[in-house]
């Protein structure tokens, strides 16, 4: 018996594969890309009962080995051993949904027919029982000729028997497999139906929970109202719930600055740490709570099965602008970050549809813009209430998100009639059954997102902040001259300012936009650093960013700055991922060009209108 080194989880979408993967590997996961393509490769280590480690890979969900999307193409190539640089798995763990055997056994039989070591994880048996369905694993195993292990991934049930079965899977009898291999799709479907029927012990006509929920959530009138209500609650929560945590982080940063100032001798290094590192990076890290809250909602929507319903409801609206409900999921992810959003477009089969979604994804207000919005709203919009439980600040934030969405829809409409012209695409999507989002999977997902954000803060944002601080600090000002005026950065900003002045941007903003190319949220740390360097004395330096903005900016300037960031094309990572996903520079350049144009025009309109209104 050969040793088992690699195993792959494979199966239909919505079989609970990811939950099983999380349960088997815990937090020991590695997320990377498959070589040459941008499909996410999730792998992790699990330990067999014998103590031997195995590399477990979670393959993208597929309906068959005849792919109809880039995701499914990866699954096919890995399974068939055609993926260069990717080891062919020694063992397949086929994950099937116990409550949807008839459908999931179609693909399972195709995989069994390949004649490799295979076991079946009969997953979500608890949900099947909830729906009145009891299945006999032994009968299923006899019919398929491979071991079958019942599991409930989200409750960590059946994991030990599964690991034992994986260990013993090396000595399988392949004699009956070639028969399965020759079946055509209709034959496989027929045999799947018969096998499922034979394995079901009881099937009561118990009312399925999801049918009742769908009655409300997919209701032609109630459904959209509930969805928009939920989105509104999410954006209110992002502001309201995060407050105490933000206070804690701010307090920690202030304490750290105080500690450094008390213990280090005055000089270049101390200024670099307090003005550059702590002030700059700290002003971005402060937004971690808001990002975590937003991601928590998005992950819960995905894991509960509601996201597919949201796509259903949005399909009609998206169809007006030539897209489909499928684009809603990447676009909603783009509210957290355009990068996973653009990568999630791979599940869109139609190329024109996918391209349009990529081009408009940066218009969704990503979490990197949240710090910018939060600072400006905090400084210029009073914290009053305009109704029970509705704060004005939250309302303005919601308005900015809405502005981005409307802008994106209009952009899609224009793009679909010009550069991505083509036949309107369709919408075909399986609606998974509802379930409580498993806390463990939610926590793992949140941790991964938070870590990515912190890593950005520690690398890109740190670098950008330090470089900016150096540019701001040298050359040193003559006595009586402002440090910012004298610095290299000040000179760069003078040049940019000529272009930005008509739309109400002052020199500090022009300056902040340069390092903000690295990441949008750097705009905040750049402003913080600029004002910190410019402060003449310790007292002024200790003052926060917000009072300085209030003193230095007019309301029209602040509003124009917000409008700019609705479109804000400056994010190198987004441009890079768009280049990778579209295989060239053409589309990223189109994207950057139209976004810069819109940002300039709308910031201008906002500034001129606000000025004319005497705000």
């Amino acid at each position: 018996m050969s040793t088992l080194r690699t195993a792959a989880l494979v199966g239909n979408p919505n079989a609970g594969k990811s939950a099983l993967f999380n349960a088997l590997t815990g937090a020991r996961q590695k997320i990377a890309n498959y070589p040459g393509v941008t499909v996410e490769r999730k792998s992790g280590r699990m330990v067999l009962p014998s103590g031997e480690p195995v590399e477990l890979v979670d393959l993208p969900g597929s309906y068959s080995l005849d792919p109809s999307s880039p995701d499914e193409e990866v699954t096919r190539r890995v399974v068939m051993g055609e993926f260069e640089g990717e080891a062919t798995p020694d063992l397949f763990v086929i994950v099937v949904d116990a409550a949807n055997l008839e459908q999931h056994l179609v693909f399972a039989q195709e995989l069994i027919g390949l004649g490799k070591s295979t076991i079946i994880a009969l997953n979500m048996v608890d949900l099947a029982e909830r729906d009145g369905l009891v299945i006999d694993p032994a009968a299923l195993s006899d019919a398929l000729g491979v071991p079958v292990v019942p599991t409930v991934a989200v409750r960590k049930r059946g994991l030990e028997p599964l690991a034992e079965a994986m260990e013993g899977a090396g000595s399988q009898d392949m004699s009956a497999r070639h028969q399965v291999a020759r079946l055509t799709l209709p034959e496989r479907r027929l045999s799947a139906r018969n096998i499922a029927k034979g394995a079901i012990i009881t099937e009561s006509a118990a009312h399925q929970l999801h049918a009742k929920l769908d009655k409300v959530l997919l209701h032609p009138w109630l459904g959209p109202v509930i969805l928009f209500g939920l989105l509104f609650v999410i954006f209110q929560a992002v502001f309201a719930w995060a407050d105490p945590f933000i206070g804690l982080i701010e307090g920690g940063i202030e304490a750290a600055i105080g500690f450094v100032e008390a213990t280090m001798a005055e000089g270049f290094v101390r200024d670099l740490i307090t003005q550059g590192l702590l002030t700059g990076v700290g002003s971005v890290v402060v937004f971690l709570p808001q990002i975590v809250i937003l991601f928590a909602f998005i992950l819960a929507m995905e894991q509960s099965g509601y996201m597919a319903r949201a796509a259903f409801i949005m399909d009609r609206l998206m169809a007006y602008v030539g897209l489909s409900g499928r684009s809603f999921i990447p676009l909603l992810s783009s509210f957290a970050c355009a990068i996973p959003g653009i990568m999630a477009t791979r599940s869109i089969a139609d190329p024109k549809d996918r391209l349009t979604t990529i081009l408009i994804a940066p218009l969704m207000t990503c979490s990197a813009r949240l710090p910018v919005y939060a600072v400006i709203i905090g400084a210029f919009i009073p914290a009053t209430t305009v109704g029970p439980g509705i704060g004005l600040q939250g309302l303005v934030l919601f308005g900015l998100y809405l502005f981005g969405i409307v802008g994106a829809m209009l952009a899609a409409l224009v793009l679909r009639r010009t550069v991505t012209k083509g036949e309107a695409s369709g919408f075909i999507m399986e609606m998974p059954r509802y379930q409580w989002p498993p806390l463990r999977d939610l926590a793992i997902g949140l941790w991964q997102r938070a870590w990515v954000f912190l890593r950005r803060a520690g690398t890109i944002i740190f670098m950008a902040t330090v470089v900016l601080w150096l540019l701001l600090s040298f050359p040193k000002a003559e006595p009586g001259e402002s440090q910012v005026d004298a610095s290299f950065a000040g000179q760069i900003a003078d040049g940019l300012h000529v272009v930005m002045e008509p739309i109400g941007f002052n020199r500090e903003i022009s300056l902040a936009l340069v390092p903000a190319m690295a990441a949008r949220e750097v705009a905040v740390s750049a402003l913080a650093t600029t004002y910190a360097v410019d402060a003449d004395d310790e007292d002024a330096q200790a003052e926060g960013l917000i009072p300085r903005l209030q003193a230095g900016w007019s309301l029209p300037t602040a509003l124009a700055f917000l409008a700019w960031f609705v479109f804000a094309p400056q994010c190198l990572s987004t441009i890079a991922v768009a280049r990778r996903e579209t295989n060239g520079w053409k589309w990223p350049l189109v994207m950057v060009g139209y976004l810069f144009g819109l940002a300039y025009i709308f910031a201008g309109i906002t500034y001129w209108t606000a000025t004319a209104l005497g705000l």
Binding site: Q208, L218, D315, R316, D350, E430
Partner: protein, 79 residues
């Protein structure tokens, strides 16, 4: 009768599908989901607001969303 005109929650069998009117990739996806001649289906939900699109059909223990154009390509008979 085509699938899009089937009254809600009425069980029916797909008797023929005009695959040529559908995009090849969409036809492939529909077949992969088991939406093919001989499948038993019923309409669970239709439309948002006053529109008739999209449609959610029940097939086996699955609910699948699709557009009216797909349903129009499928002839069904009540069972």
């Amino acid at each position: 009768m085509t699938l899009d005109t089937l009254p809600p929650l009425t069980r029916a069998e797909i008797t023929s599908v005009d695959w040529d009117t559908l995009a090849p990739d969409e036809a492939k996806r529909l077949r992969a989901l088991g939406i093919d001649v001989g499948a038993r289906v019923a309409i669970a939900h239709r439309g948002i607001f006053l529109g008739k699109d999209p449609i959610a059909i029940m097939i086996g223990r699955m609910t699948v969303a699709l557009r009216r154009v797909h349903a129009q390509a499928m002839t069904v008979k009540e069972v």
